[in-house]
Amino acid sequence: MDEPLTVQRYLLQRLLLLGPVLFVVSALVFSLVHLIPGDPAQVLLGFENTDPEQLERLRRDLGLDRPVYVQYGRWLSRVLRGDLGTSARTGRPVIGLVREALPYTLELATYALVLALALALPLGTLAGTTRSRLADAAMQLLTLLGLSLPAFWVGAMLILLFSVHLRWFPVLTFPSFTQAPLASLWSFFLPALTLATSNAAAITRMVRASLVAVRHEEYIKVARAKGLREGLVVRRHMLKNALIPVVTLVGIIAGYLLGGSIVVEQVFAIPGVGRMGLLAIVQRDYPVLQAVVLLVTVAFVLVNLAVDLFYVYLDPRIRYG
């Protein structure tokens, strides 16, 4: 390995890597979708006729008659100028569609993450510091169960119970948070909970494991020996150190959540980024699919970068190299 890098240089390097990653990912997706039978022109014509001339004319209009690399080049040059193109299927600008879908996904992701942390931090701390073997075992079983739940099934069950039978939650109105914060939080609760379940379980386990790992470190023993109260020891010393792996996990989760959860958006009929991506695939809406993939990849990489920054804050000893 070379000389140790400074944090700044490391981050710069990571940021510079984002470009090539996005290039490869987008080129890969672009060529992959062109391998699939069917194209947007056929989707647009539907089942009304099979006139090959009409199809060819539409293909020319959409630029689909050119070789794939030419199409990719055109797309890339447009994107570099900040233009995501036009959705082949709806004829609307992709950026507008993304702007419609993104708020849903953002709110859902943030909400799910907050719920997961609200559940996981106290539970994990409890499990990691308890002296009761029974409590620990129960917590472990519970979290393993949480990890074993299929989201689509949990979602269906929650709708059946809380929306259909008890009628506590609305089914399909998802008002925006900026316009009606309370109503929005209320209606996003079930999908957010569905999405939070397995993540809460994973984070709880990570908190517990990290706490167990630092429990026997020297500085904790010293702190205890100094006569600090147990609660203070946990809060001031153990949690802060235990947080590092937890932050990594939360970062990964956030990265995934920002990409939109296809399954949860599908079950709760939320018109977010995940569903947009799924529809774009089955309807061959290439520009939309490309935009979704870009978005998801950028979110994933940036969140990971933020996690790295957070490390430095938590533990200034960390150097990258």
């Binding site: 069917g38 056929q42 709806t90």
Partner: protein, 518 residues
Amino acid sequence: MRAWRVSVVAALLFALALGGAQAQVPAPQRGGTLRVGITQEILNLDPHVATAFSSIQVLDLVYESLLRLNPRTLELEPNLAQSWTVSADGLEYTFTLRRDATFHDGSAVDASDVKYTIDRILDPNTKSPQASFLAPVKEVTVVSPFVVKITLKQLTASFLSLLAATTRGIVPLNFEEKVGDPKVKTLGSGPYQLAEFSSSAVRLVRYDRYWRKDAQGTRLPYADSVVYRVIPDAATLRAALRAGELDLIIGFGVDVTATKALAGVPDLRIHSVPDLSYSLLGIQHERPPFSDVRVRQALSLAVDRKQLIDVVYSGRGAVAGPIPPTLREWQPLPASQLPNYRPDAARSRELLAQAGHPRGISIKMMPIPTVPDAVQIAQVLREQLARAGVTVEIEQVDFATFLARWRGSQFDTFVSLNGGAIDPDIHLYRHIHSTGSTNVFKFRDAGVDRLLDQARNTVDPARRRELYAQAQRAIAERVPFLFLAYADLFAVTRAPVQGFVLSSTRSMAPLAETWMSR
């Protein structure tokens, strides 16, 4: 029709129940918002280009055609055209337009708009999938501001019913310049105009100068606005109706099983009507086993359509042949009179053996992914065909793949839904005639072609009926594909919704006369 009778009886009972307290039907109330839940995304709003069923459901309220189909009786009625005459040779149609119809920008609907509309559909640059329907048109001439003449190249008996469709809706002269982007903006003459449009929701508001009035002389439409919400998941759609977040649900996924799930819920009303559309098993005739008519007959004999309807539609559907049982004026032959319709697995095996397949055949079956019944039908067919020695492999493909393979005739068999029409010519010709625009089956039969051509060019209704009686038998005999079922169509409304008519044509135009009681 059993279903008809059931709903008539139900209506009578309802009237009787009301009769004690109040002898008259309550007067329609104006105002309010009708919230309609549908399962498919609303895409293009250009009436001549849109193909998505959900788009048409919206456009039914925004655009109007020269003629319209009465949603209950399915008869042709004047609409933008208040009267018409046909020349003696049957080639010239002269329409007189009503003078009080206006587009949403206030300009009158006149003859030049009609000419522009038809020319636009036929213009290759529009790339309208509707162009093939209007292929018989030779030219359109403006006779006077409110009189327009359409000249045909050849006799086309179904021409008037071709004009009664939202997808042939009249748009103003220079539509594209006026509206900007017709894919996302509208300019029609219908009862509602577009207020907001996203792919998951559309809001329409009343057009105050709409011409049509109800029997009491009140201007239509009643409701202030109509909101369409797209909920792709049928279970969620129902839950939303139960929760009072929607007033009406309709479309794919609102089927008999779904309505059963809602049967016990108070304050909901279930509407049903026999569908004009039919589910079918498409067959590729150029692929070896199917080029032999005996193999196709064997498939037809192996299928127990009654059982299929019992399982997939809980019995709410009709076994029928090439002509929808609803269209009684065209004398649809009952299943008992159609060849190859009585299930007979033994005979089916025999035919397969004669065709050189004594040990049966293996076929692939591709259900269309956007119609939920299709995969259910495929699974039932797989079980039924197995009894006749036909092994079925179901291939579920995504929507665009299905389209590509449908278009390219790259399939053994597929299960899908074909839209129906009130004229047998429109209903049959494009799928079955060897030059039909959607004959992806590659079915070629000179006899059937001759009958369909003759019927198309015969104007006398009695003679046409005779020809279609022959055609029905010939089609059932030659098996271009299997007509499987004409299932009942369903919609569910909340109690405050009044005056809604569920039409066999699936048209949403009756929403103009639907109102909310408070």
